[in-house]
Symmetry: C2
Subunit: 402 residues, 2 copies
């Protein structure tokens, strides 16, 4: 999160972030790494944020934030729990108390953060009775989170290092695999997607990373549907494409994709891979401070379109060829600003020094049963991109060790 | 989720579950294990649920649900994305289309599931303009989720088996530890909380489990604040208590706690441990179909109070002695029904055959620097409890192998 002033949009009395866990990407930038369950941040206009939490057992975790605390005692939690107050009413009471303790007078608040929908519609209806109204605060908070602080960058670097280790493990297993009757074997057993997934999970675990959004290890036509995560039972085959997309989280996320092929690839896969590499290099050379994500998408679509592949610009909604956006920001969420969409505003879409982005061109053909995606993670700097996942890009795992 | 009929509360036209991921505990029971990002379930009165998803790349994952699908094509996603529709308006458009496609006429809907708060307040205000109003659906859905299906029970059993393996690994490391100058050493290095946490993570990983809510490995006075997760850098000491609370997730959660002590425990820790074991045995003997969670809490408070420890009944809000509830249901959420709270309704609080619960008495003294908690996970059956985490309860890791 950038160190901007408390520049609340006009008309807001303040901004409220509610969450059922400190893993919430809107709450996490405020907590300093402490683990909290139900909690919230209230940012009154022109004042520093304060952190509210509902369980007295979390007092030490809450203190890690360094923020002024709205404790369960100040929020009268014991009373609501003694009276058996239903959750949406309890949240209304707690937030009403927090607003009062912060000497705020009724009006409009920005709101963001994840709680179950019935709690939100319930407490917002109750607070409307006290004169409080809500506007979506995600756009404002997303912009604040776009530029990374040094400590946030450090979190992403650590996650990226573990991600690279995960890929080296994949390459090592694939390099060691034997081909028997067209199928891969490793450690005296069929090499399945599930085995590879376990090896990745163990390696990430050794680096203190988790996979809250899982991962994608998708062979052949499974990889050709970009969000297909791959079937664990499936035995890998020689000559087929294998898309491996790993996006683990430490305190923040990292994200990287490589495509492998054990044994000689088919002609179309090989040509697709060459073209995707070329597209990635082009995007890297064009990605500079002041350029928009959408511009990069256009440049890549132009290249891939010229090579005869359908693209989202030439054929909106296509599921063959290049079928998605070129990249996204990465931070407390796997997908955040900057945006690579056509309609992103300048603030949302323009690359600035301190942004963290992916670039991930790909080509897909479900009918022909192959896919290629190559994705790296970068910090945008005044001097150009810094690649946080500088791994080999070859299809052949043997090349990872030459 | 129990196989009840579509018994929507009176006055609702239907129920809507919105989610940013299929990990959402309100959405997950409907998905059949497929991985989805932004998605929703709509249950019209007297009709089967249908699953809506926003990304065409997730069509194979969505199909795993076996439900009728509201596809991105039916929901006009391409149009909203081409027009650069802001997210809260996009959700309003998509849901409005889903309601129309389901031939529903305006009125009240139950709502639950997690999306960021600004999206929810935004789309609900827009849909109010079309005559749709929302009531919290969590209470109704929580009750549906209380009794587990066979496939859900199987998911919990698998998670419990991995959890037990994690505890055996902890006991093994502690048993192998040497005491040097009062501090523990293992594998030629100081044995820290962080080292033990890594060993647990690796073992859980080998069993295909993740730790979305982390874990608690908390020595001495850190363990005495029940939600303190423990400091990684801290070197473990002989004679101190070590609370280890592991609650990993496969498709569903498991939850178990043991307290260890390497070397002879102090008198108070030993007495506390004996009393907590007694409290757990008492709770196990009282936990039967038809009994409420709150009754079990009363029984345990009575026992611990008689032994001279403050309890939440004798001293509401106490942070010394027994300081929390006795247990909770476990399923797609770590904490779900049945409820052990005083004000739980009969439906929420009463044990039924097919419930999955924890029982977890504990004693805490931050000033004296010790804590004990013992927690097991059970299926409630007509014939009594089935313990899914039947591990040794001794403080001494040597006893785990005798």
């Amino acid at each position: 999160m950038s160190d901007q002033a408390n520049d609340l949009p006009n008309g807001w009395k303040g901004c409220l972030v509610v969450a059922q866990s400190s893993e919430d990407p809107y709450l996490a930038p405020f907590t300093g790494g402490g683990r909290l369950a139900s909690s919230f941040v209230l940012i009154p206009r022109s004042e520093p944020p304060r952190l509210g939490y509902l369980s007295p057992m979390e007092r030490q975790e809450a203190a890690l934030s360094g923020l002024e605390l709205l404790t369960p005692e100040l929020l009268d939690m014991l009373r609501w729990s003694r009276e058996g107050t239903p959750p949406d009413e309890l949240w209304a009471n707690v937030l009403s108390r927090a607003l009062h303790l912060s000497s705020m007078s009724p009006g409009t608040l920005g709101i963001a953060g994840s709680l179950s929908a019935g709690l939100i519609t319930g407490f917002s209806a109750r607070l409307a009775g006290e004169g409080w109204f809500f506007e979506p605060a995600e756009p404002w908070l997303d912009l604040r989170r776009k530029l990374k602080s040094e400590s946030e960058l450090e979190g992403i670097r650590l996650a990226a290092q573990g991600t690279c280790a995960g890929f080296h493990r994949v390459a090592e297993v694939l390099r060691q695999a034997e081909i028997v009757g067209g199928l891969l074997r490793w450690a005296d057993a069929p090499l399945t997607v599930g085995v590879l997934r376990r090896e990745v999970a163990l390696e990430l675990c050794r680096h203190g990373l988790t996979q809250p959004c899982q991962n994608i290890i998708a062979p052949a036509e499974e990889g050709a549907v970009p969000h297909n995560t791959g079937t664990d039972e499936r035995v890998l085959k020689a000559g087929e494409s294998l898309v491996v997309d790993i996006f683990p989280k430490g305190r923040l996320f990292a994200d990287c994709t490589r495509t492998f092929c054990v044994g000689p690839p088919g002609r179309k896969l090989e040509a697709g891979h060459r073209k995707v590499e070329e597209a990635l290099e082009l995007a890297e050379s064009e990605a500079k401070v002041g350029v928009s994500g959408w511009h990069l998408q256009e440049v890549v679509c132009e290249l891939l379109g010229r090579a005869g592949y359908p693209t989202p610009i030439s054929e909106p909604g296509t599921t063959r060829g290049y079928v998605h956006g070129l990249g996204h920001g990465v931070g407390f969420e796997l997908h955040e600003l900057p945006s690579f969409r056509r309609h992103a505003s300048e603030g949302e879409g323009q690359l600035e020094a301190g942004d963290v982005i992916t670039l991930e061109p790909g080509l897909y053909d479900e009918a022909e049963g192959w896919a290629v995606r190559i994705e790296d993670l970068y910090v945008v700097g005044e001097q150009g991109l810094e690649n946080l996942t500088p791994l080999p890009r070859s299809l052949d795992p043997q090349d990872w060790y030459s």
